[in-house]
Symmetry: C2
Subunit: 385 residues, 2 copies
């Protein structure tokens, strides 16, 4: 008998020795221990019956967290930006008119990708941290009559949550498909694809789903699939071609690419944790942690960038207070507490902190610990508040 | 203090319970236990100093296994086919003339991707399992004068290894760049990018490198980088844009996408194992396992598809013998022994088995065990040899 050592047996010293981090940044967030356990399980092949069992479980559980009945709900073998490219490259071809709601970094990325696919992009721009009202959003769409509309539900660069009902309603009136970036919201806040009217939504594994980065969940409405089947030009991308990927993962199980059993195990376990907790309980836990965070951060004398009703629960953007050196605060947190947070960038560089409360870290204890460390670091960096 | 459980502590029962497999297929291959250990380590962020330390180590070690001095040697956050799309989408634009050496499934995939990018493809076709001679290869290139040449070094669909020196020499004479698919060879056989003259080579994590699927190592020559810098049209793909990815991983460390610390840990550990064994020792181990396999498979009365001098060491294609039902053989191996192998497909459907001997399974003990199980399965499926 051939001897192949068990994955779980510690054979010898490994070379990877990462420092311990508490990931309070905009993502990746803290990974749940059960997800690490799942990833240590031995792999099977990408065409193994067990692989498809895991993949089918993932599809079912993703439908719940996305809030959709879409059969075409599956996983892209790339990070969240790969999910964005999947959405854009399948639905934007040479000459497609694309309307982008632009109020942050990831809307700009949607713009860039749409232009690379040959799309003609029109933009409705707002300062980072603001959101679009129902009437102005609908007017923009009715005036421009685009074929595709994109917006970012939870804009990680700014901390603002964009409601989508009015956007989707107006888009459908003019016959446009709606692409929504749900990278930061999925698993932590209500995404509600069907209720909102979103046609294509994509996300990532490393934020609200508490897994490592590496996969991008996506869901596509029957209406969008009809459009795609009727598309006459080939997607420039073979790797992100939804017709080929969905055939592999959902329909024929015919080989497309070699999906990673390990990463699928991680996502399966992460979604099991959400199912066990209950999706609405999980949202509520993130909401309560957010409210507690805001209370305590205002107690320190800081202000939030985004208006209360438009805040993302799991990604907070308090303003850098007068007198504090934000880079120093971040360096201190990392050095003294192993805490990672992020600063602002683009128009918000030096103006906000970006603090994530995701998955295992979305608790009152976690907020208490963070604020204690953060308060010390602020005062050490010149803040007198 | 906030309590976040350690990844290594078994907290509670997980839901992922894969069957145990011995992966003797064309890939993924068996993962080394140390790689699983590395993946169970806690993640850091994609901009953490430790992440870039791991990434830089990977780049250094990849240069050795690729056999190159190329500074632009790094990792794509997608599977091997994502590496192929990276190579094609960066170097093939609308109207680029692409010459494809076509003797298997993955050459056809290169063709498809090149056409989607707008390339004008000319093909030199041979039956699957055959390779191209130096003179005919050079004549084809001199006659066609392409701008890009692609070939597959180790064609997984057929088991043939294509030497590249003559191809690269002729291509460079006509000013063309050479893209080589090294998905199956890297880490198990000499790839020798610089010695061969390859401009762009890509691979995967799950074959000769003994990691799970999910990443694609790539290397790009200075000559190809010059061409890329002078390219005036944007790559249609933002996700696979080499200029952006190399800037993130090698140059400025500016955010591009959220690379997976977990998968990078895996690759770092897999490459450490190669460094510890010694690359040439590892090649020799795969070579010896291959020779032993051929001796024993011929002892069972089977013939190999590919001529001896053109065989891939770590992916063997014995012909299905008269009287044996190949699907039944594969089903028996999986059911009775947990052994995964693959059958042929396309023109080789029902005609060959595809048996991988990779990483931990490239040993004499492993060959002995495989042949014992395989012989029984063959006889149970009607083979009288």
């Amino acid at each position: 008998m051939v001897t192949v050592a068990e994955p779980t047996a510690l054979m010898e010293e490994i070379v990877v020795h990462p420092p311990k981090r508490l990931l309070y940044g905009p993502g990746p967030g803290q990974v749940h221990p059960r997800v690490y356990q799942a990833m240590a399980q031995p792999i099977v092949g990408h065409l193994d019956a067990y692989f498809f069992e895991i993949s089918t479980d993932i599809q079912r559980l993703l439908r719940t967290v996305f809030g959709t009945k879409n059969e075409m709900t599956f996983v892209i073998s790339a990070t969240g930006s790969g999910g964005m490219e999947t959405a854009i490259s399948n639905f934007v071809e040479q000459g497609t008119k694309v309307a982008v709601f632009a109020n942050g970094f990831f809307c700009d990325r949607q713009t860039e990708m749409a232009r690379r696919q040959g799309g003609e992009v029109v933009r409705f721009e707002k300062p980072w941290g603001e959101v679009f009202g129902d009437n102005e959003a609908a007017e923009f769409i009715r005036r421009e009559k685009p074929q595709v509309v994109t917006y970012v539900q939870a804009e990680t660069s700014a901390g603002a949550f964009q409601r989508g009902e009015a956007i989707c309603k107006a888009a459908h009136e003019v016959g446009a498909l709606v692409i929504a970036d749900c990278v930061t919201s999925l698993g932590a806040m209500p995404v509600e694809v069907d209720k909102t009217g979103i046609d294509i939504a994509y996300s990532c594994s490393q934020k609200g789903l508490s897994c490592p980065p590496g996969l991008s969940p996506i869901t596509v409405s029957p209406r969008a699939m009809e459009w795609l089947k009727a598309r006459t030009t080939p997607n420039r991308s073979w790797y992100f071609d939804i017709k080929l990927i969905s055939d592999y993962l959902i329909q024929s199980h015919r080989y497309h690419h070699t999906a990673s059993a390990t990463m699928f195990y991680a996502l399966r376990e992460g979604l099991a944790l959400i199912e066990e907790e209950g999706l609405e309980n999980r949202w509520e836990r993130h909401h309560q942690a957010h409210l507690e965070f805001v209370k305590q951060i205002e107690g320190l004398g800081l202000e939030m960038l985004v208006a209360p009703e438009h805040r993302i629960w799991n990604l907070n953007t308090p303003k850098v207070p007068q007198g504090a050196d934000d880079a120093k605060v971040r360096a201190t947190l990392l050095k003294d507490n192993g805490i990672e947070i992020a600063g602002g960038f683009g128009p918000l560089a030096g103006k906000v902190f970006r603090v994530g409360l995701m998955g295992p870290l979305a608790t009152t204890d976690s907020v208490n610990h963070f604020i204690e460390c953060f308060g010390k670091a602020l005062r050490g960096a010149g803040y007198k508040g």
